[in-house]
Amino acid sequence: MAAPILEVDALSMRFGGLKAVDEVSFTAHAGDITAVIGPNGAGKTTVFNCITGFYRPTSGRLRLHRDGRATELQKLQGHDIARAGIARTFQNIRLFPGMTALENLLVAQHRPLMRASGFAIGAILGLSGYPAAERAAIARATRWLEATGLIERADDPAGALPYGQQRRLEIARAMCTSPLLLCLDEPAAGLNPRESVDLARLLRAIRDGEAAEGEPPCSLLLIEHDMGVVMGISDRVVVLDHGKKIADGTPAEVRADPRVIAAYLGEGDEDEVPAEAAP
């Protein structure tokens, strides 16, 4: 089995009296697409928000492995999480709507650019390798625009793109930060079946490092409701219900797990049955 890339160890998140995530542990392996699924309110997005630094976990550890060294994500803040190698997209897309598609991708590459421009001082003085770095960044952004089929829209404001294109642009932007682990929050939400198929192909290509030229393989972690997408592309599936992990395995294993079937069909869960029909 491949080396672990992210180890979630006994992660708990409490909001007042509510335990949204309760001692969840799982491991995402390098080169895998790991999916986190579960009914609504299972705690999937909370797990995501802990990994990406939106929430500080109540307890537990999140270890990201890079070149044999482990980074404890729960100790990092803000921009350091992205710099450690985590990138994410949102269920409700968060592009910079007033900037063009290309600029959105350049913002994601601002670190090498800022260094090349000597934090803008060099750029003002016309020194340093800034123009070359800017050209390289544009070339890379262009490759991602091609990979996501957005090259025609490069100079349009991101906010003016149709929904499906905004989703792909958000993925491209996350990839431009050169992450180790790309976290996708319901990437197929609101897509039509055709777009879902394209998305699955794109995600597999990202995993294998074939999405765009010169891009290394990237591990993926995703939350998804669309079972077709999940079962089709995931190497590993983690199932949550009521904040607890109830299953963890290959798609085939998970599908056959009685606890998963119970959680999804709502066995013994009167919420799913109209009140009058209840015995």
Binding site: T52, G53, G78, H79, P97, M114, A120, A123, R173, T177
Partner: protein, 304 residues
Amino acid sequence: MAYALQQLINGVALGMIYGLIAVGYTMVYGIIGMINFAHGDIFMVGAFVALITIVLLLSGGIMEGPGAIMLVLLVSMCVTALYGWTVERVAYRPLRGSFRLAPLISAIGMSIVLQNYVQVAQGARVKPLEPIVPGGFTVMTEGTFVVQVSWMQLVIVLVTLAVLAVFTWLVTRTALGRSMRACEQDRRMAQLLGINTDRVISITFVIGAALASVAGMMYLLRYGVIDFYIGFLAGVKAFTAAVLGGIGSLPGAVLGGLLIGLIETFWSAYFSVAYKDVATFAILAIVLIFMPTGLLGRAEVEKV
């Protein structure tokens, strides 16, 4: 006709100074949504730093030619930028994430601190300065009225345009500008892309202070007298300019500054000097009634 032309020239020169200060207000507002009330006093500090540098150069006997003016400009920009950085670091950053009014109150406090600091350090009396760039040229003569452009006015307009051009290029064309715009649109998201937003905010204050110091130096050279209190009225006028142009909009700030400068000059020329500030603020009120987001501002969409 000639009289009006002269007022136009005076108004543009004054408006440029307001515009430079207004850019600082609008930039800070755009990025962290607060009004930096200490910005007018940063302008005042810039004027004092320029004055001290000029006096030093004069006593050294090397206050000659455009090179010396550039040197004063550079020193003033660097020292004032340091003040801007310190103000943000000391008074605003610790309050980030606090309730909305906290940094505003802190800003008012900072404004009082800077005024009193300069008053104690430099004395309360008005500081005069001999004209550094005397003379000018005549544009036209109509009867006995001579339309003049002083070299100083020309310097103000040219320096302001050059500074604004560099600044515009910085914001629209460089990685730093992109990071600034990204922070403006969605600070949390910018952070998730690895942008050190605290640093971007610091740089915003540094740039704003540097621009204000240019304005301070131009004010000093144009009027030749400064005191510790000039930051208040200039700050209020520049803030008005930023609101008039549409707060958050950079071209709006320059446009607003020019309009305020022109309104003030023309009102003084044709009506009464005593009521020029009343006129300025009355026009602000009227514009805001009909265009609440200012001339070039976009409607604020509440971020969810």
